[in-house]
């Protein structure tokens, strides 16, 4: 059994409302009951309430597995980087330090590293991961590429991330605004760390349809182009 090739995981940080439903759902999973493998991070807590859910991105070059001295982190044929293998893991914490996304967590009391495995017990049967089933705003979406294209026409999935000199291709997709994604096809994470928002104004836009031009709809919609 393996994750079906046509189903993908999409994260849309724009839609995250910080409700922590994913954390609760993850905690209820029987393979790691009581511990949440998903992290909900504040982007800039002093300035904003914006949160982003962090699941394992399942890299094509998993740094966690590269640095593991005990050979405990393995990837299955469907590209899912599995949690540490219990007989091998020595709880050294190398993976915790190495992961560019900060996903693995060390459980010192149990002497094991545990991390998100995209709910392999569910996704290998074609079911959605726990977090994607409960997310009310569908910031965490699990489905086919056709579904995401239909649901999010303003965004495109990006699965390349730049960390300094390291480029990482992932199995999990991050939804980026279409205008930005066509300019650069990857997310430069290290550059974004020192970046500050130029203004706090948020512009609401409507989805252009094929019947009328964007300007027509904008004139009909009272909220189009309103700065909040």
């Amino acid at each position: 059994m393996a994750k079906p090739d046509n189903l993908h995981f999409f994260i849309d940080p724009n839609r995250c409302i910080g409700c922590q439903a994913c954390l609760q759902a993850c905690t209820e999973c029987d393979t790691h009951r009581g511990e949440s493998m998903i992290h909900l991070e504040y982007i800039d807590r002093a300035e904003s309430v914006q949160t982003v859910p962090v699941v394992c991105m399942h890299c094509e070059q998993p740094t966690c597995a590269e640095v593991c001295p005990a050979d405990a982190i393995k990837r299955t044929g469907d590209g899912i980087v599995q949690s540490a293998r219990k007989p091998r893991c020595i709880a050294c914490g190398n993976c915790v330090v190495a992961c560019p996304f900060g996903v693995p967590e060390l459980y010192e009391d149990r002497k094991i590293m545990m991390k998100c495995d995209m709910c392999y017990d569910r996704t290998s049967l074609g079911k959605k991961p726990m977090c994607a089933t409960v997310c009310p705003s569908q910031a965490l979406f699990f489905g086919t590429r056709e579904e995401i294209e239909q649901l999010r026409p303003m965004s495109v999935p990006v699965n390349q991330f730049q960390f300094g000199l390291q480029t990482i291709t992932t199995q999990v997709y991050m939804m980026a605004p279409r205008a930005l994604a066509t300019r650069a096809a990857y997310v430069d994470v290290t550059a974004a760390m020192s970046e500050h928002a130029s203004s706090r104004a948020v512009t609401l836009k409507v989805i252009p349809s094929s019947t009328g031009t964007a300007a027509d709809i904008a004139s009909d919609d009272p909220f189009a182009g309103v700065e909040v």
Binding site: K74, R75, Q82, P157, Q160, Y173, A185
Partner: protein, 196 residues
Amino acid sequence: MAEQPGDSGSLNIYVRRRERESITTAPNRSPDDQQPAWREDFPIDWPQDQYVERRDFMKFLVLTSAALTVGQVWIIGQNWLRRRRGLPEVRRVASLSEIPTGASLVFQYPGELDNCVLIRLSERDLVAYSQKCTHLSCAVIPEPGQGVLRCPCHDGYFDLRSGDPKAGPPRRPLPRITLDVRGQDIYATGVEMRTT
């Protein structure tokens, strides 16, 4: 660096870059034939990690059976050598006047480093054992008042008359030193190794 995701809807980022069984793409993204040799021994992918080559399996079988055979030969050789060595020499330990009833005496037999303990239980009753506890080789202490030999390391107890284990971790009796009293002198004549 990265291919542009097409905006026509046919996004090629979904295309799998890697075969299911191919070796891991290294962080520097160089091709497989430029990777160091150790990468093949520590694959990141599960299918390769689980894969056992026929040659490796045969190696395991041959080497394991060879090790077992060598072990058997070694045991037989040890037995043969021990029989060839014969009995240890008879050596005078002490005179009867040196050791009153209920007292004990430490002596070395058969080697200079093999501590043994001689106990006089009664007027004509003498016993001697190797002092090495059969658990982890600590020195046992005779306690004639309780009729035991006690090992202080893990609280092991041996019977003073027979050397059999009575309590604690030891499971084998202490090696007995056979004694011979000739006139007023006590002689050690051999070591009786026992397993039960």
